[in-house]
Symmetry: C2
Subunit: 417 residues, 2 copies
């Protein structure tokens, strides 16, 4: 376990760096981003060597192939990171922009200026690519970043950090703009949560237990990136072929992601027609179905347990339930949904409008796959994750979501009456 | 101390009410707001009777006249509340509005829909008018509100709550949309902080100790309304007469408010000329000055202690320091400021721009009084307070700041490749 003063010292460096970054020119930040891209290209063998150490240790520890896959650095992964860094460099700089400047009756000019948040603590899984993506977005937004990555990515993260910090220095920016917590001990997470006055925001990405730990301990704002217990409601007027395709895409296009489909609710009026179509498609895709009693009267599948309704499988499993009405579907989603991604298939105008309006989730879709809950897909560009916290940012978080605004007022000597 | 289940039950009612409010029509919400205004008008004698009980108890307990003044309900106070309710009713309804709807290359229409936050916990001082103001803004934004007012306003708050709830019922809305925590025990604050999953936001308004308690204990987002240790920097190029007027207005226009001026930093080049002007004006207004060594070489005032630089007086006291440069002023503000309201008086273009850009405060002013940090003055309409938290809302919080947005996507069967 890292001693508290050590972590606090790191955070103090972050805070100093944040003041410099807040005033840094777009030119310097973009130069650093492009230097990062260049270094990833020219040092990829060193990165692969570090990554191999992580992969071997993870394999020995018996990690699932899905997790090994997320840990692996490869030419396509690096190329995506390089392209991403170049794209972030090419984006307009958000900092210093003044929105909605208006002249008040007394002549005072009032607007909101976009500013960085300050220091962001990012706690994430063993995905080395997240190290680069978070660094790029945080830097563009003028923030300092304190990273706490998963222990399986230890060597990879260190190798990446060295390159990122070299790039910062070459661009004349403080290397403390991006720092790595020098331990993967869980105690360090709690210590980070207590660094009030130093960290302006903590973003925890991972399982429910981690999120709850951070929410309980943190004395600063938390933007949680929690699990997705995502539903599709197939309404009585749905185009059933399209609904099957959306369910199939939602479940199988990349099952390990938080925007995958986990539950299907079917209106009783179309259950007999829809469920066999669904079963056939899912069977072909080797998806295991589980169902409630009424579903099992139509298709022969195992019974769902109470647990099933609240479980994010991240795997080829899907639970199905028959409901009597839109209201019952809304009720079920309000109870079991995790505010992540909720979808309706319908051709009924008022039902589409009610679902869109009443469901509380970071993305609500009508007649489209839940897999679209992603910064690129929704048109934000790169993202640091998908917030299921309602305040500040609800849904994919891009560069703008890592900033805030302050008020500015330009006067000529105005005082209040 | 209230038993935990009791407070939890209240919060469960709030959550149920929030679901109804989120889908309530603008017409119903506005009808409730106008009914509230009408009831304040027609039941003012009952309100004054309850308020008299509070005032007598507070007087017996030896409350300061400033605090008694904030506790008092009177015709002008009620009239302001009535006008405020009518104004909030007349404002456009923010809920359901979709911002920036764009069509993605695959035909998916993506936008952000404005939605309520859900249930808001509001912890505030003994100001009965805040009960009405917070209720009006929360209702307009479609939120349920759980109020925990100061103990000195106990009778007044109960009398007000009864009227507000009657108005809700008359408009066909659940009376649980606005509830009062049935105790002013401090333990109830901690219990509120632990109601995760029920409260979506806590807004604490008050002293440093309260804010820190809530930030430490809360497991949900907190928007702190903390103290204002507000500075005025008088630059070497400032119009000195105007600077004196701004200092005077900032300090004396309403000294008990958080946007009052507490510190003056004077550029050494104008100290000899400016300080006697400042001393004369403050003397006339019976403001006590305290100064650092260099200030005291110019004007004869008591020495400031180390404490003085970080104290919010809320009283007719002002601390003065001589600095060598803009950089030294920025350094001092970064160290001692409380991210509330910071002002520069200057005629130097680059200094104005740097100050505006580099100072981290909810409002940064050039050549105007800090007293403008107020929702009405900045053009937002009514406010529930001034947030010194950077995320979500930084500065005055109006109706819009009590909402958030979710993503909505309207498709025609789109799936991801």
């Amino acid at each position: 376990m890292v001693a508290i003063p050590e972590l606090k010292t790191l955070a103090l460096y972050s805070k100093q760096a944040a003041r410099i970054l807040a005033a840094a020119s777009p030119r310097a930040k973009n130069a650093a981003l492009l230097a990062m891209a260049h270094k990833l290209q020219t040092h990829k063998e060193a990165l692969y060597a570090a990554n191999r150490q992580d992969l071997e240790a993870a394999q020995a520890a018996g990690l699932s192939s899905a997790r090994l896959d997320r840990l692996r650095l490869s030419d396509p992964v690096l190329q995506d990171l390089i392209t991403g860094l170049q794209q972030v460099a090419a984006m307009p700089d958000p900092i210093g922009e003044i929105e909605g400047l208006q002249v008040r009756p007394n002549g005072l000019q009032v607007g909101r200026m976009r500013i960085p948040l300050g220091v962001i603590g990012f706690i994430y899984e063993s995905r080395p690519n997240a190290t680069v993506e978070a660094s790029a977005l945080s830097l563009k937004a003028g923030n300092a970043l304190l990273l706490r990555g998963g222990k399986e990515a230890w060597q990879s993260n260190h190798a990446l950090l060295q390159l990122l910090q070299e790039a910062l220095l070459e661009a004349g920016l403080p290397q403390e703009a991006i720092q790595l917590v020098p331990t993967t001990d869980r105690g360090a997470i709690v210590e980070m949560c207590h660094l009030s006055g130093l960290l302006d925001l903590i973003i925890p990405r991972g399982g429910k237990e981690l999120i709850e730990l951070v929410q309980r301990e943190a004395r600063m704002p938390v933007l949680a990136h929690a699990e997705g217990v995502n539903h599709l409601f197939v309404d009585e007027t749905a185009d059933l072929e399209s609904a099957v395709q959306i369910a199939l895409n939602g479940k199988t296009q990349r099952p390990s992601t938080c925007n995958s489909l986990e539950k299907v609710l079917v209106h009783v009026a179309v259950a007999e027609q829809f469920l066999p179509l669904l079963a056939r498609a899912m069977d072909t895709a080797t998806v295991e179905l589980r169902g409630d009693e009424r579903t099992r009267q139509v298709i022969r599948i195992p019974a769902a347990s109470g647990e099933d309704w609240q479980t994010e499988y991240l795997d080829l499993i899907l639970t199905v339930k028959v409901v009597d009405s839109l209201d019952q579907a809304l009720e079920h989603i309000a109870r079991y949904g995790s505010n992540h991604t909720e979808t309706i298939c319908t051709n009924h105008y008022a039902h589409a409008m009610r679902f869109m309006r009443e469901v509380d989730a970071s993305l609500v879709l009508v007649n489209a796959s839940p897999r679209f809950n992603d910064g690129f897909q929704l048109g934000l560009g790169a993202e640091i994750g998908i917030s299921t916290s309602k305040l500040h940012a609800y849904g994919p978080m891009g560069v703008k979501e890592l900033t805030t605004t302050k008020f500015v007022a330009l006067g000529q000597g105005q005082v209040r009456d």
